[in-house]
Amino acid sequence: MIEIKNLSKTFEQGGNFFTNSKKIYAVSNVSLNIEPGNAVGLVGESGCGKSTFARCVLQLIKPTGGSVFFNGVDLTKINGNSLKKLRAKFQMVFQDPGESLNPRMKISEIIGEPLNLHTNFSTLEKRYRMEEIMNEVGLKTHHLERYPHQFSGGQQQRIGIGRAIATKPDFIVLDEPTSALDVSIRGQILKLLQDLKYRFNLSYLLITHDLNVVLNVCDYVAVMYLGKIVEFGTTESIFSSPLHPYTQALLSSIPIPDPMSKNKRIKLKGEIPSPTKIHKICALHGRCPVKNSNCDSEYPLILEKKPGHFAACWNTNRIITN
């Protein structure tokens, strides 16, 4: 059970003796809960802060504010050693499979490392577990003696997933696990992830910009824009009736692989602003096709608009039509 409360991360860029550094508000006050066995998708475009958020949750980057409770333990407050020990329970799968594997390590060393760090397995037990892992991710045991570059992208990602499940964690964060893979391989990896989730009752935080992936793998979706969550709900609810204009724009922009149904696109004006200011009013202001008087004056809190479906918008009773 993961409870993220008011997580914030601010980066400082530049700055020296003469000038002040620029602050970048990558993540602002994000709260999210992930129940055991659930997959939560976090979608948003580049620069919205989702990757930063994922790393803050796992404490790979130290958040500037907020807490992350993992089964009741606040990960932001415990010391280095205790955190290291807990890492056996939450792991990460990275975006670029070729890059996330150390090119000088054999596969057996790569997936054996978490076992070495977190368990007291004997060599035999380790070997047994490694062969088990290879089977679970769909690779052969003789692959253990090879190096990462001898595998294709899809296989490398399987190895990355194997490494993540080695210590039988409860929670896995996946940062764009299929973006770097070919279309026909994507399906294989997503199927594997679905499979593992059901068999081991894993919870996922799946970061992606690809809404197609979310629809097929996740139970809940959170939509992120400029460091804040603007909408949250079950996958069905969000895809069938998106409430926030940004979500609507996002969903309408995905090209549908069916020449008979043309997209009815909702357009946002302008470009994504850079995250260097704290927003006192809605972050979509200026780009949004809908507007009412509140939009200029107050920041819309994220409220439950329908059962289980939250959105941060003053206009959520209007669905936008072109």
């Binding site: 475009e45 090209p255 692989p257 696109r265 470009e271």
Partner: protein, 318 residues
């Protein structure tokens, strides 16, 4: 207006000959957008580069013809090709930031192309450049024209690249995965832009992508490539409603859709390795309809109705 016939582009390596493009055949009519779809390693980018002959040793075009408006591009000299590039055939690439020169402003890069091909004074070049930037919907064009590439976002860089490609009003635009590196909302805008410009100027466009959604939305016809060959070619409507080659079927089935939840289908096996192409039909290790002939003979092109061409033994006997 573009006819590619049995194109073979091979790469000589220490391990032997890599047949990256292995007999690709397709054509592009005037005024249409042809999608070239396939996964990594299928040879689509190299096909595009071969058309413009932007290749060097150890990559060679070893066989085949490329007819552009009746003339065989493979017979032209390098100088003749240079005059063609940017003027009659233009190309836009996947990563816009990599394709723009970081030390020159947008204006410099546009003027450079204009004056190289069409001559003219700086004033003419400037006004044409401004016109192009407005045509690609860059806001505040007169200010942005003086920016450097690093000052622009990914979507803007891509638009600048489109402006650069179109400034000499080419007859053919080759787009190599132009929106793959962009966010989905930006992608939608760039696609709209490409569609509207191509249609309004009755240009032809060869659009390379791996995204079937994009093909469905903007292309008129599509060629499906696998292991260096075109395995299916036809109108988008025909191919999506009646996919014939098992690879096309698999690709369409495994495409994830955002408008309906579906079980995930996969094509088993790995994407074809261009250094190790199987005997007979190159899809035989992954095909669910494979039979004996598939391992021995290379399939021939079969014309189903409506100029819907498939390269598969399943249709040979009909």
């Amino acid at each position: 207006m573009l006819n590619i016939n049995n194109l073979h582009t091979h790469i000589r390596t220490n391990y032997g000959n890599v047949k990256a493009v292995n007999g690709a055949t397709f054509n592009l009519e005037q005024g249409e957008i042809l999608g070239l779809v396939g996964e990594s390693g299928c040879g689509k980018s190299l096909t595009a580069l071969s058309i413009l002959r932007l290749i060097q040793k150890p990559i060679n075009i070893v066989e085949g013809d490329i007819f552009f408006n009746g003339k065989n591009l493979l017979n032209k000299s390098i100088n003749e090709m240079r005059k063609l590039r940017g003027k009659e055939i233009s190309m836009i690439f996947q990563n816009p930031r990599e394709s723009l020169n970081p030390v020159f402003t947008v204006l410099d890069q546009l003027i450079n192309i204009y004056q190289t091909h069409l001559g003219g004074s700086k004033k003419e070049a400037y006004s044409k450049s401004l016109e192009m930037l407005n045509a690609v919907n860059i806001p505040d064009a007169s200010e942005r024209i003086l920016s450097y590439p690093h000052e622009l976002s990914g979507g803007m860089c891509q638009r600048v690249m489109i402006a650069m490609a179109l400034i000499c009003e080419p007859k053919l635009l080759i787009a190599d995965e132009p929106t793959t590196a962009l966010d989905v909302t930006v992608q939608a805008e760039v696609l709209d832009l490409i569609l509207s410009i191509v249609k309004s100027k009755t240009m032809s466009c060869l659009f390379i992508t791996h995204d079937l959604g994009v093909i469905a939305q903007i292309c008129d016809r599509v060629a499906v490539m696998y292991a260096g060959q075109v395995v299916e070619l036809g109108r988008v409507k025909d191919i999506f409603s009646n996919p014939s080659h098992p690879y096309t079927v698999g690709l369409l089935n495994s495409a994830l859709r955002a408008d309906q939840k579906s079980p995930i289908n996969v094509i088993p096996g790995e994407v074809a390795d261009p250094t190790n192409i199987p005997q007979g039909c190159s899809f035989n290790p992954r095909c669910n309809k494979v039979h004996d002939t598939c391992y021995k003979k290379i399939p021939k092109n079969v014309n189903l109705n409506n100029n819907h061409i498939v390269k598969c033994h399943l249709f040979n006997n009909n």
